[in-house]
Symmetry: D2
Amino acid sequence: MIILMKKNATQEHVDRVVAVLKEHGLGANVSPGTQTTVVGILGDKAKLGGLDIRLMDGVEDCVPIMHSYKLASRDMCPEGRKVEVGGEVFGGKKLMVIGGPCAVENEESIMKSALGVKAAGATMLRGGAYKPRTSPYSFQGMEVEGLKLLRKAGDATGLKVVSEIVAQDQLEDAAKYVDMIQIGARNMQNFRLLKEVGKSGIPVILKRGIANTIEEWLDAAEYIMSEGNYNVVLCERGIRTFETATRNTLDVGAVPVVKERSSLPIIIDPSHAAGKAQYVPALAFAGIAAGADGLIVEVHYNAKAAISDAAQQLSLEAFADLLQKVKQMAPVFGRDV
Amino acid sequence: MIILMKKNATQEHVDRVVAVLKEHGLGANVSPGTQTTVVGILGDKAKLGGLDIRLMDGVEDCVPIMHSYKLASRDMCPEGRKVEVGGEVFGGKKLMVIGGPCAVENEESIMKSALGVKAAGATMLRGGAYKPRTSPYSFQGMEVEGLKLLRKAGDATGLKVVSEIVAQDQLEDAAKYVDMIQIGARNMQNFRLLKEVGKSGIPVILKRGIANTIEEWLDAAEYIMSEGNYNVVLCERGIRTFETATRNTLDVGAVPVVKERSSLPIIIDPSHAAGKAQYVPALAFAGIAAGADGLIVEVHYNAKAAISDAAQQLSLEAFADLLQKVKQMAPVFGRDV
Amino acid sequence: MIILMKKNATQEHVDRVVAVLKEHGLGANVSPGTQTTVVGILGDKAKLGGLDIRLMDGVEDCVPIMHSYKLASRDMCPEGRKVEVGGEVFGGKKLMVIGGPCAVENEESIMKSALGVKAAGATMLRGGAYKPRTSPYSFQGMEVEGLKLLRKAGDATGLKVVSEIVAQDQLEDAAKYVDMIQIGARNMQNFRLLKEVGKSGIPVILKRGIANTIEEWLDAAEYIMSEGNYNVVLCERGIRTFETATRNTLDVGAVPVVKERSSLPIIIDPSHAAGKAQYVPALAFAGIAAGADGLIVEVHYNAKAAISDAAQQLSLEAFADLLQKVKQMAPVFGRDV
Amino acid sequence: MIILMKKNATQEHVDRVVAVLKEHGLGANVSPGTQTTVVGILGDKAKLGGLDIRLMDGVEDCVPIMHSYKLASRDMCPEGRKVEVGGEVFGGKKLMVIGGPCAVENEESIMKSALGVKAAGATMLRGGAYKPRTSPYSFQGMEVEGLKLLRKAGDATGLKVVSEIVAQDQLEDAAKYVDMIQIGARNMQNFRLLKEVGKSGIPVILKRGIANTIEEWLDAAEYIMSEGNYNVVLCERGIRTFETATRNTLDVGAVPVVKERSSLPIIIDPSHAAGKAQYVPALAFAGIAAGADGLIVEVHYNAKAAISDAAQQLSLEAFADLLQKVKQMAPVFGRDV
């Protein structure tokens, strides 16, 4: 951390800052500039405990020069982490494509969607059982019965399955029925849930919050990893901006930034970013072209009749077309599907 | 809800939409415009179930014309709701001013802060026991021991106390030790937690999420109210924008909008919006001037040494000055303190 | 336009609205709903002049159902418009790739950059002569001397040239020396400049403002087109959001939205969105994958020594690599380079 | 400026940076930290010219520690600047209240509005003659005829007048007919216009761009001041965020930030921020409470029939009520009206 002194800071101010650092077992490197003096802290700033140097007289600001996450950083694992889910690997050469309906609605529906998703060539099956809905009067999901049906559809098709949980007491059931859990955008900073998921060791997709920076997202991943669970796959799904033509704004630039700063795999959710089925393929291709390790796409065997998020779910035909083009793109970027 | 047909929609498209509405027990009122045809739905659109009319051929878009919240709406209680906490009332003539440290750190600290807050004329005492922190390596709060100390400080000073919970299993302890709980910005859409708080009946401050619209905020209040708990006080604490000079951007316009659309009391948290102590008074005064029912302000008896959020906590002197000026302002707006 | 009446609107309110519409030569189609009455306007709402129906008693809101742009809309030219610049065509099968330095700095520099850009396979050359800079103390560009050098470099390499203007009195010089002009993000709503460019008939790249919606952008294009100049190419260059890891957030979803709503060609500027050279290729590929008609990329023969925007300019080698990969991607999307 | 070296930077990298600084006549202060080395630059970094240190091998980032504006800074004029317009002073004890219609529509209208505004106790009269409109098909203003009518209304009532210009060739006419000009949000970074206004010496209200940071705004003021015109009054009018309940989000926190960083007076435009007349008073009071030096409010003698922005214009009665309350508030904040 670097301390910037105010323009009108006195020598006494600077001396006091240096003295305080020493009291806490830290060294100081004073750089008297022509306009402002800068004090570099030598040693681990954690030694300061709760002391906020910014509040000392004569101090203008403190500039952090290190990330607060460690396990999630690229430095800790320069070659990149791989996350294995039942034989399939996120972060390898192969692009992972997860497809399935927004919500598990009934057995016939999830089974038909699973068969179609499998036939199109997807790697995994998704389906929501616990749905976080903006209004309490909207359909809230089939809960544990939904997980069981999802498992059944996965077993019938040989697809591994992933589903979202929204509270820690759902973790036990999820562990029984799914291969991977998802933490949704609204829970990215539900730190208690993150810790419990960390303790469980279950592979997890961690979606970015709609108003969270990439740094906060990696800090959230750190919550899971600091409990011993390194099986974290990041998922960019669009951020909230002033533009309303799409449901959210896909931050495709997050892909190269995450690849530079973090060792974790990253996939793209084009469905929630687009909000409308007709924009989904363009965003999916953009994500892959930017270097993502895979996709998670909402697909429904009878898209127009889906109970939730109908507008953004692809039909099986549209999903098959999308995958076909992803297969053609992959070699250009040194990947396969 | 209103259905807008596409410019090139045919009579068959319109007829099909009307037929589908009828199949679901709804009436239709067709308005053939010069450029586009509009179909108004007669009846309760909930009868449509999961059917998304937007996906029908010839349909351009659907425009909702009603809010999704009911209990939280102004219509349901035009005179405004009042929330009582141990004899003090949010939503009445008296402005409620809550003061206290970001976190309960130890007995001496919370006691000194409580005494100072009381002396300045505050109505209630705040203090965090469960701290949601961006990084897992930051101080996470004293948990239940913090609640006990807060209760002790409240009893010693006669101040009612409020503290944040971040998970449902903290609710039982909170019910024992505090008079009011707070749901923080990060948990505004933690719907499970909202429902549990709804069942508990405990008065609650519901902070707005940093990227949530006013409509989503009122939907979150509806989650609590739909479980039977009408003791909800809204708290505007700044939203995330591109501006970084302040920690967040206080959306002071939310005050008149909430007053128009909802019957719930609304208070302002100038501390988290400002992020720096020197901007806190200006934001506090702005909130009161805009019509808020009160303030929740971070105050620490020894602000510069606070363990968390030190930069934004007011000293006892600064807090007393702030309250002094609020007292002078109040009569202009028909309020007292 | 549709008029939504308030829930408590009386029959008199509705009758008065209908009467006012009739006074202005418009028909009305009244849909009495269970919760609110809706009045559809029959006829051209321009007949209302400045009358704002929203202000009438009993009216809740008015919902526009048409875009305000006409010439820029997809409806007016469903097959898509093509913009020709000296034999090269934006909006056809061929992807247009424009490369060149942020600013023209001197003859040697622009000539070396032009030769490298040409060798890499670019279609056009860019170079700034009038630089809009945030601070008055930054380098402001070589102005007309810069345009002359750009022309010289274009003639030497056979590349058509494009350069930004920031004021209407620069239009005459620009017309002499460049083949296409650029309106930058800061001037997207400089309506006088847009009109003058419209009158000039010169092909123009219209960049999206950093805080402007797609609808406002198309309205800005309409300003140019309504003066008779249909040679408008849109350019998405990133919008301003809360994320600071990249200079701006590339709104890659704008590509399919523009393709749906407008007939105009659209290209991507990955350089200003990224702000750092290492992120530029990922954003460029994402733009092409999303369906853009081309790219405009900052390239400098000696990138590290560039006078302005050094951090985001590609070296000639990096630009050649980028173009190589774009060539490989193009056939997957039915394009060539 | 401070240079942060990469974690893996070698001694050679550091030595090279120091050598380059010396070549440019600058000193260097090297602070070898435990995790990263920091190099402070001694001397005026302008000596670096266009050299971007960030591009040197081993360099992670450069952190600016000074604002780029000088004349607009608080440091240059700690007591605050005053801007006089025909005897009235912005930045003194007296709150300045400017009222008037969005647009000058005809003589009767502006005259009636002026009389009402005067009667209510306003200090100055506003009225738009050159209107920047999103769509080319909207009313564009009466231009110079509007300026003449505004002058006439000002003379008749004894009110000084202010009006917006949107292009430099309007400056000559404006100089003839108005006492103060306004640069609107869309032109905040129209640097050519800013410079011309700077040369003119005419007092100017500089509105903040809807997506511009406070730093960029002060840089824009610097453009005007660097040409010798110090008569700049800043105006906060709301920024663009994801919230749509109000037209823009009034950044009331900008008031204390500007007061800290800059010596320029700042006023609030509650009308454009609110977008609806019923929210205007709350935002006006909030602005004054936050410490603003005045208000600019849209008022129309027959608000419901106004040609443009009808929804947000106050009636004369509502404006008089607003002013009445501002008068009551003023003494609390050491001001008068």
